[in-house]
């Protein structure tokens, strides 16, 4: 999908009378100094849904790589990434958003963490995932809202 076409989709969304859910397309998100200052969707993030997206194996699947004691009922938490207990004490919301959107733009190209709102992905993407981000803009904001609640180790 080219940039002009993506823009026109955004415009269509706007003109369809849904400004409350206006989204920034993945290619349009700017990561400045390890942070994404602006939310990627106009709707405020919902931390309760974010907690679900975080744990859902088909969505964030964050526990595959991260320990999070807030979800200690979930067995088998991964150790590939750092534990996320108290993560909100270590990162600002805008930084957490940047990490979720495209961790490679924050930690460098070698990080294992996928870009959850990026189309800068690997080769040979399977048909059903082509030109799609792992999370929707709304899911990203919900997860960021949830992460900001993980305070105090």
């Amino acid at each position: 999908m080219n940039r002009a076409f993506k823009r026109s989709l955004v415009l269509i969304a706007v003109f369809a009378g849904a400004p409350a859910t206006a989204e920034t397309a993945p290619g349009e998100v700017t990561i400045d100094d390890m942070a994404v200052a602006q939310p990627v969707t106009a709707a405020a993030g919902d931390a309760i849904n974010g907690r679900k997206v975080f744990a859902d194996r088909g969505l964030g699947n964050c526990l595959a790589c991260h320990v999070n004691s807030d979800l200690k009922n979930e067995q088998f938490q991964g150790t590939v990434g750092p534990a996320l207990d108290g993560v909100a004490d270590r990162w600002e919301a805008a930084q957490l958003r940047a990490i979720v959107v495209d961790a490679k733009k924050v930690f460098g190209p070698e990080t294992m963490m996928p870009g959850f709102y990026s189309l800068d992905v690997g080769v040979d993407v399977a048909e059903e995932f082509k030109d799609k981000t792992i999370l929707s803009a709304g899911d990203v904001e919900d997860v960021v809202a949830y992460l900001t609640t993980l305070k105090g180790e």
Binding site: V67, F76, P82, V121, G122, V123, D124, E127, K132
Partner: protein, 286 residues
């Protein structure tokens, strides 16, 4: 203190609730029916550039009950496939009226060590052959039988039977033959190629994170010495190319076809990475 131990301590410090989360592979020794297996070996030095000092069998990363299952061939469910493979070995098929045994006799003698030396350069085909491709070449040229389709039960079980004749023998492939080195290089490129929406390479899990847990999966070095391997998750004996494709699919990519040049090259490279480890076929894994 090495870097990994340090990293583990940092992790443990950060998450007191999950102190058992990060774990080194066990240091136990594997004996299958009393015969010692090499589950740790110095990494091959030629060609240079192996990422590890010591190569380790995936057995060392598994849970105690899974390890015990492999150590006792009566408990190992993959041995049923090996027994079926033996029947296939002795079954006449095709217009030439031959079985494998017609030419190769007693596999315990003629196939001993063979599985440990594959994949192997095939001059006629101009590419490396694995056991599966060699079986199909025999079936077509010698037996005048149909080649097996990928992952046909007989193909997987016969491959396991042949590899099982090398049980305990260390993997050692001949990279000096034919054009093997260019296949090795292509396989290496593939190993580090990030695929799919999740943007992972083989190396993301099996090199940079081997020893870590991906959910319940204790990530191994991804060596191929136990294939075909009995995979508890699939309740089945699983071929190497089936697992290659499964791993690539898990990155949300369209995987290359079984026995394609991409996966044959990967097989060459992965076999080299695990040189020195005993053939454990049929290994038991998660």
């Amino acid at each position: 203190m090495n870097k990994r131990t340090l990293a583990a301590l940092v992790l443990l410090g950060a998450s007191p609730l999950f102190t058992a989360a990060r774990a080194e592979p066990v240091t136990e020794t594997l004996e299958i029916d009393g015969e010692a297996m090499i589950t740790e070996a110095p990494a091959p030095k030629d060609p240079p550039g192996h990422p590890f000092d010591v190569v380790k069998s995936g057995w060392l990363y598994r849970e105690p009950d899974t390890r015990a299952m492999e150590a006792d061939s009566f408990e190992n469910p993959g041995m049923l496939n090996v027994e079926h493979g033996e029947e296939v070995w002795n079954t006449v098929e095709g217009e030439a009226g031959k079985s494998c045994a017609s030419c190769h006799g007693d596999a315990a003698e003629t196939m001993k060590g063979v599985g440990a030396s594959y994949p192997k350069w095939n001059a006629k085909a101009g590419k490396p052959f694995d056991i599966e491709l060699q079986i199909n070449a025999c079936r077509t040229a010698q037996m005048k039988a149909e080649p097996y389709k990928f992952d046909a039960r007989d193909q997987v079980d016969l491959t396991a039977y042949i590899k099982h004749q090398s049980l305990g023998i260390p993997v050692k492939i001949d990279l000096s033959a034919g054009d093997m080195m260019s296949w090795w290089q292509t396989g290496k490129d593939r190993y580090y190629l990030r695929t799919g929406q999740l943007n992972f390479a083989c190396a993301s899990c099996h090199e940079k994170n081997s020893g870590n847990y991906l959910r319940a999966d204790h990530l191994s070095q991804g060596n191929s010495n136990g294939f075909p391997t009995y995979r508890l998750k699939q309740s089945n004996l699983v071929s190497l190319h089936n697992r290659f494709r499964g791993c690539v699919r898990d990155t949300r990519a369209e995987p290359p076809k079984a026995f394609s040049d991409e996966l044959m090259a990967l097989e060459v490279y992965v076999a080299w990475r695990g040189e020195g480890l005993s053939i454990e076929t049929p290994a038991v894994r998660q």
